[in-house]
Amino acid sequence: MPSRGEAGRRGDLVRSDCWIEVELKDSGGVTLEVQSKVGVLYGDEIESLVTAGLIQMGVENATVSVVDQGALPFALAARLEAAVRRADPAREVPYLLPMSERCVYGSDPERQRRSRLYLPGNEPKFFINAGLHKPDGVILDLEDSVAPREKDAARVMVRNALRAVDFVGAERMVRINQGESGMKDLEWIVPQNVHVILIPKVEHPRQVDKVQNRIEDIQRELGLKNTIFLMPIIESAKGAWRALEIAAAADTVVALAIGLEDYTADIGAERTLAGRESFWARSQVINGARAAGVQPIDTVFSDVTDMEGLRASVLEAKSLGFVGKGCIHPRQIAVVHEAFAPTEAEIGRAKRIVLAFEKADREGLGVVSLGSKMIDPPVVKRALNTVAAALAAGKLPSDWREAEEADSGTPEGSL
């Protein structure tokens, strides 16, 4: 029953990836041929990784060819497993490398989600340094950036990346596919310390339920207890109508995002830079999210060369009430963070309110006042958030209270 499978990419322009062909045989043992750009340095390592993988997957007789363009071990292992599975779809034994300790950290439902960097799930070269650009989250994408015939290979690659790549503290997110394909995706990623699952094209809270139930089933089967958060994405008129129901569909929903490329197509409008055509839907998402107590997150900005346009777009999103923006290039991240950060004027005002609040608290006063004005509790809450955001953005030193008090004696002054 000789059967063939191949996976990966080859050619001079390919970087940090490889192409592997496996022909399963009935006898004759394993024949392995490796051609690698890094053969002088890692030729032996590549051979032993492939040999160990074949043993783990129970392959005893096969011809294997590897054409390598400097793929890291996690990517090599993913291509080998995908090729073996394509040669014999009935074979369901994974080739797992050990989980790196750098992948074992948690998240928090309330954490900042100002930037999320999309990474095409079948392109390992983009994964390796993604975390160094300090996004709040990385999204390993299994949906639109992966060609339909590569979905299987991308699942293996994304699973391996979740086990091997250090995203340097970024929240670990995966965007799954729609429908049944998405249910299949969950089997691959739920056990791999994924923090947030993005559900595309949500139009009804049932879709969120279905994902939540599937996650719980998988976790129950494996005895896993970690909470996996959800971020549904609204990308249609139907979804926009049900924004609140969708955001409130499960306790695990932490944010509600909007995707404008599909939304504008759905309502039959051109997507413009000014964005008048999507104002209603964006407001729906913001209000639905806030009503459900989750974060409203804006779409991506697609022109990677236009940093001023990006900055303006984030400032507009911030003014509407969004707290996050999608990024498709690492250079967008710093711009997004800077634009979401509170302004000097906002920080100055917030500092004075926080100090007045703390003073009132110390003195046991029920009412916070600044100068002659009374400050309402929601204003205090917003000031506390602003100070926290300023601290996180590095725009305020941690010892700002001392500096402030030394500066002005008593914290008074007009707003």
Binding site: K37, V40, L132, P330
Partner: protein, 519 residues
């Protein structure tokens, strides 16, 4: 079998190169040759045409007039880079004259010089002393050249000429514009390249000098970057080079987010270290990361309203923009990489042409390189002691020339912005494949995974104490790279034959390159 001796860096190097004895590297600033500088024979002006017209029919005639003989040394410069047409025609003419065993002494060679391989095979050329990459690099790395290659820095080339280590019999100087007397300039003409500084020593010290141009102008050619008073003959060709390969129309900055991150951190490092202040100076080449470093530094200089006294080039449109915007008083330029640079050199008196003599020469009474406050350079490998390699790939093959790299290490702060690994090729390693620059002179490594400061630079460590930049021990970054790449890389298997000697700036031998297996 070459007799090897251990040098002060612990490297085993040949005691003899192509039949001449060689001095092993003794440490930085330790070797001081004595005696008098070399000089060509005395000439008399009465032997030259009184009307100043030195034009002869063609290269072959000029070489015959120069009395080309077996075993001579012929030099060329590399200002025409990968667009050069002259060197290939020169050795074709030499082959027609039937000479053998020439030593080619270029200031650098390029992939366009692959046709020289046929002259090496036929015995016209014995060996090359100058950087090699591409097909010539492979030819040499695989041990197919008869003699041993010698790689020198730009300053080391001047040193070798001045102290007599290399005696140039015939210098062939490609000139974008020249007059009949031999005055020549690179700043204009269809093959304009900016300047001709790499040919300066050749013009002054060669026994015989031939200027080759495709743009002959009536006397005087002004400015005269090369003085006709040193020149014996002038040859006119239809074209000395391909303008598109000599300089680029526009210089592209890198789009790689990782390289941009490294460049940005490097610029921020210079600010945090207190280097960026009024009157400072820097040097950055035209490589992708160095170029974007200059752009990030420009933005920081604008923010802080700081003006540099001088920038050392390789110049590009970006440095020219800084000069024109008033962010620096001068560009001191060693080579020009794009058309804007050539135009600026021609038109702006504050864009000054320099040479390895002013900038790098070991036998000068000082040089500019050590006065530069911060220099940003590349490397193929750096080890945990900050030693760096710039000439070979990790597989042992010759990849780059030394260029001005070794000379620039004498800057007051030397920073290497480098990725910690490329694909699966670690750049941070336990021990460099080939030693080109001693770690004592390399102050800072900036990688995407963190910045390492040489422990010898306690002053810099102190300055950066409160910086928010990710300062880490070099060994820690190296360990992380090995974790990502799947262990330390294997060493390349090399043969016994020494194919190239690597010179230090003072003429001593700092390392050598051994033969690699043929593919």
């Amino acid at each position: 079998m070459t007799n090897l001796v251990e040098n002060a860096a612990g490297r085993f190097v040949p005691a003899e190169i192509n039949g001449e004895s060689a001095v092993a590297y003794q440490g930085i600033g330790k070797y001081h040759p004595t005696g008098r500088k070399a000089a060509p024979v005395i000439s008399s002006c009465s032997d030259y045409p009184a009307d100043g017209d030195k034009v002869v029919a063609d290269l072959k005639t000029a070489l015959a007039n120069a009395d080309l003989k077996d075993g001579m040394t012929i030099s060329t410069h590399h200002h025409l880079r990968n667009g050069d047409f002259v060197a290939n025609q020169l050795f074709d003419a030499a082959a027609e004259l039937g000479v053998k065993d020439l030593r080619w002494f270029p200031s650098a060679s390029f992939p366009c010089h692959a046709p020289i391989i046929k002259h090496l095979e036929a015995g016209v050329v014995h060996h090359i002393e100058g950087s090699m990459n591409g097909p010539l690099g492979d030819y040499c790395s695989e041990g197919r050249m008869r003699g041993m290659a010698v790689l020198r820095s730009h300053g080391g080339r001047y040193q070798a000429v001045q102290d007599g280590e290399v005696h140039i019999d015939i210098a062939v100087i490609a000139a974008p514009t020249a007059d009949t007397f031999g005055n020549a300039t690179g700043d204009r003409g269809p093959s304009g390249c900016g300047l001709l500084g790499f040919a300066l020593a050749d013009s002054q010290y060669a026994e015989h000098v031939i200027v080759v141009t495709d743009n002959l102008v009536p006397f005087p050619c002004v400015p005269w970057q090369i003085q006709g008073n040193y020149v014996d003959q002038v040859v006119v060709l239809d074209s000395i080079g391909d303008p598109h390969k000599i300089v680029s129309g526009t210089t592209q900055i890198t789009k790689s987010p990782d390289r941009l991150l490294i460049a940005e951190m490097t610029a921020q490092f210079c600010v945090d270290a207190g280097i960026v202040r009024d009157g400072f100076s820097f040097q950055a080449g035209a490589g992708g990361t160095a170029l974007s470093f200059a752009l990030f530094l420009r933005d920081l200089m604008r923010d802080q309203k700081v003006k540099a006294r001088f920038i050392r080039g390789g110049s590009t449109q970006y440095l020219v923009e800084m000069l024109e915007e008033g962010l620096t008083d001068y560009i001191l330029d060693g080579q020009t990489f794009d058309l804007v640079g050539v135009r600026s050199m021609r038109e702006n008196a504050n864009h000054v042409n320099t040479s390895p003599f002013t900038s790098y020469n070991w036998h000068g009474k000082g040089n500019f390189a050590s006065m530069v406050e911060v220099v940003v350079l590349g490397a193929t490998e750096v080890d945990v002691d900050f030693n760096a390699n710039v000439v070979t790939h990790s597989d042992g093959r010759l990849l780059h020339g030394i260029g001005g790299w070794q000379n620039c290490l004498f800057s007051q702060c030397t920073i290497l912005p480098i990725p910690s690994f490329r694909d699966r090729i670690p750049v941070l390693v336990d021990e460099v494949t080939t030693l080109c620059g001693p770690g004592e002179l390399i102050d800072v490594i900036v990688t995407e995974r963190g910045i390492a400061i040489n422990p010898l630079r306690r002053d810099l460590i102190e300055c950066l104490h409160n910086s928010t930049l990710p300062i880490r021990p070099i060994a820690e970054i190296k360990a992380e790279v090995e974790e990502i790449c799947g262990g330390p890389p294997a060493k390349p298997e090399v043969g016994e034959k020494v194919v190239a000697a690597i010179k230090w700036v003072d003429g001593t031998v700092i390392d050598c390159v051994k033969q690699v297996p043929t593919d």
